[in-house]
């Protein structure tokens, strides 16, 4: 019995965090965000060398073949640095779905390229969680029609994996005829989402997902866990920055961290956030090792981290006083990243409802 990270897991996370500290400082994030780029290419390249994109890709396909806990540790490090690179969709959701439901040729075609950092796959599943009446995708005779919104990691994607209304998954070439991809501007400029309109667009079904929603649901579970882990990292950075600021900023001839009003905000952030780390670890471990608990834990991780992330984002900003809301300080990059993670793949109320279903309460 040892509920703790192993030596290799700690080293993996440390090596990525250390690289991002030097290779992806706030100035670099700002460049990418202000230019509206899809990703920081230099950071992407170095992360390829560190094995990040192939974390879940099996060794047969040129990946590292690690588990979802390792992927969550990477997501946490990326969130901590607000790193502007695709990860949750391309390096986690896509490989999970391809491994579960892809044909031999599909795996062969995409998994090695994902691991090598040569291909990005965007994921369009928002309609499976909360479909608006104008949206939705119908599949017929190898063609897709309709509209997929909030397709994640879409801007730089070489392929899109789109769920049709029946829950089947389809690979789509975004440069093919009949596909229009338009980037949607969100508050968070460190990840990209797009609207994809499909007019008789050619598509390739993942055979294991025909008449079987499980690959879709397992992929969403994995994606939710990554957003939760990303929020954990981003919120930890915000809490740490607040504590550091409270130790340094002076008013009334005292550092403000000596005032209980400020100290208690810091303590509340720590008290709320620290258990989240254990929840994310457990949920990621359970996804692989205790599959009967996987969905429930992924839902709780996503929903609870969304709530705590929102709380920390607000409190940390308040501890920073007026500086907290300035672009100069840049705290808003973390604030917005946490907001993005909350809304995507199901806001907490929706996800908790799925947690109720997973326990047969409704």
């Amino acid at each position: 019995m040892d509920f703790a990270l192993g030596e290799e897991q700690r080293m993996l996370q440390d090596s990525i965090a250390r690289y991002l500290e030097s290779g992806c400082p706030l100035e670099r994030v700002r460049d990418v965000a202000e230019a509206g780029d899809a990703r920081a290419d230099d950071v992407w390249q170095e992360l390829t060398n560190l094995g990040v994109h192939g974390v879940l890709v099996g060794e047969d396909y040129g990946g590292v073949g690690l588990g979802l806990l390792e992927a969550a540790l990477i997501a946490e490090a990326l969130g901590a640095a607000v790193a502007p690179v695709p990860f949750a969709a391309s390096a986690v959701m896509a490989p999970v779905a391809l491994a579960d439901a892809g044909s031999g040729e599909q795996k062969e075609a995409w998994l090695p390229r994902i691991a090598a950092g040569e291909a990005v796959i965007g994921i369009g599943v928002s309609e499976q969680i909360g479909r608006r009446e104008t949206d939705g995708v119908r599949a017929e005779n190898g063609r897709l029609n309709g509209k997929a919104m909030f397709v994640l990691d879409a801007a730089a994607a070489d392929a899109l994996l789109i769920a049709s209304d029946d829950g089947a998954l389809h690979l789509v070439d975004p440069s093919a005829n009949g596909i229009e991809r338009a980037k949607l501007k969100t508050i968070d400029r460190t990840r990209t989402v797009a609207e994809v309109v499909l007019s008789d667009a050619p598509a390739e079904l993942l055979p294991g997902s025909a008449d079987n929603r499980e690959p879709l649901l397992r992929m969403i579970d994995a994606g939710r866990l990554m957003l939760a882990a990303d929020t954990l990292g981003a919120a930890q950075t915000m809490a740490d920055k607040a504590v550091a600021y409270a130790k340094e900023r002076r008013q009334f001839n005292r550092v403000i961290g000596s005032f209980q009003a400020v100290k208690h905000m810091c303590a509340e952030m720590a008290a709320e956030l620290e258990p989240c780390r254990s929840l994310v670890w457990y949920a990621a471990h359970a996804y692989v090792a205790i599959p009967e608990e996987g969905r429930l834990m992924a839902c709780h991780a996503k929903a609870h981290l969304s709530e705590v992330g929102k709380f920390v984002a607000r409190k940390s900003t308040e501890v920073h006083g007026g500086m907290g809301i300035t672009d100069l300080l840049g705290l808003h990059y973390w604030f917005k990243r946490i907001g993005f993670n909350r809304q995507l793949l199901g806001a907490p109320e929706l996800v908790r409802e799925e947690a109720a279903q997973a326990q047969a309460w409704v």
Binding site: M1, D2, F3, A4, L5, G6, Q9, L69, V243, A246, K247, R254, V255, G257, S258, F259, Q260, K263, H264, C266, A267, E268, A270, A271, E274, P275, C276, R277, S278, L279, W281, Y282, H285, A289, I290, M297, H300, A303, H304, E307, E349, R352, E353, A355, A356, W361, V362
Partner: protein, 399 residues
Amino acid sequence: MDLEYSPEYRDFRDEVRAFLDENKHQAPGPRGATPGQPPNSPKAWQQLLIEHGYAARTIPREYGGYGAEPDILKTRIIAEEFARARVPPGHSGDNRLVPTVLELGTEQQKQWLVPPSVRGEMSWCQGYSEPGSGSDLASLSTKAELDGDEWVINGQKIWTSGAQNADMMFCLVRTEPDAPKHNGISYLVFSMDTPGIDVRPLVTMTGDAFFNEVFFTDVRVPKDQIIGKRGEGWFVANTTLRYERGGLGDPNEAENRFNRIADIMQRETVGGERLIDNPIYRDRLLKLQGQILAMKFNGMRVLSHNIKGEEPGLPRWIVKLNGCELNHQMAGLAIDVLGELGLLYDGSPYLRDGGFWQARYMLDLGLIIGGGTAQIQKNMIGERALGLPKEPKVAEAGA
């Protein structure tokens, strides 16, 4: 990450289960008593548990314990299995006093105090808080003056749990009035039958009198009934507080309570609809479930640090604050979903779960305050775990 138990611990769990299957009919209380027979004695049950190593497990044999090497996981397994079998667990005398005496007492004090405490023949109450000294405990003013071979104690304690039934008290008194406040305190132990002690029950909002006020008027206690040295009582007390704090906010207990509420909400109906079918109640339940799971896994993380002899740091500092708050919120949800039925109390007909939730709602608010208030907990998290500076001291003589 390894959530499996090794064979040694799986065998140990089987052993505890086999013992409980075979012996639980001997346990005291209504469940164990044979019809028509007087209930079994708690002392005999405690003795049986000590012989098998399920009570006073790590207390040395020469002081009446079982004498096992400390093993946190085995202690946990024993607690889990007794809870699962709903059998009253054993005890280790008093989990505040006994470890303190074993660590800091003289040989004569250990022989005098530990064996009868472990056997359940000497029960304890804690004389710490005073009317003027709550969160600022070190400002306490109950004084003890040496007169020949005896301490003479005068003053008052409050919030003394179980004082009306206790055989003995361990008590903080001021013995060095001229020393700085933390260095002027001593830790005395004495019988509650000593002349000059007056115990007055303190009725709380639950209607029960678990706490007491204790008044001391010229209470004379032999000089050698001091644990540690004169003036070092604050250090001795902190040894004790360390043992006490571990118990508040236990995440496994929180999970049990959560499951009871989930049961109520699936069982009870209003207007033909199960309580859990109300989406607002359901969302409140699920929000709590997320928080409780997070604290449960945080508890597993703390346990794993402890097993390896590592200081858990922040994950440990937050247990009391979060655990007590969650318990209070759970009781609040149970009352809310029961509607008018949630108001019933004190043996009323239609009472659900024997009135457990109303009692817990009030008791758990007490526990948010007691054992270091939520605000004191936040100070400790801020200062000790996050390294934020203490509030500057107001001059002692200031108004």
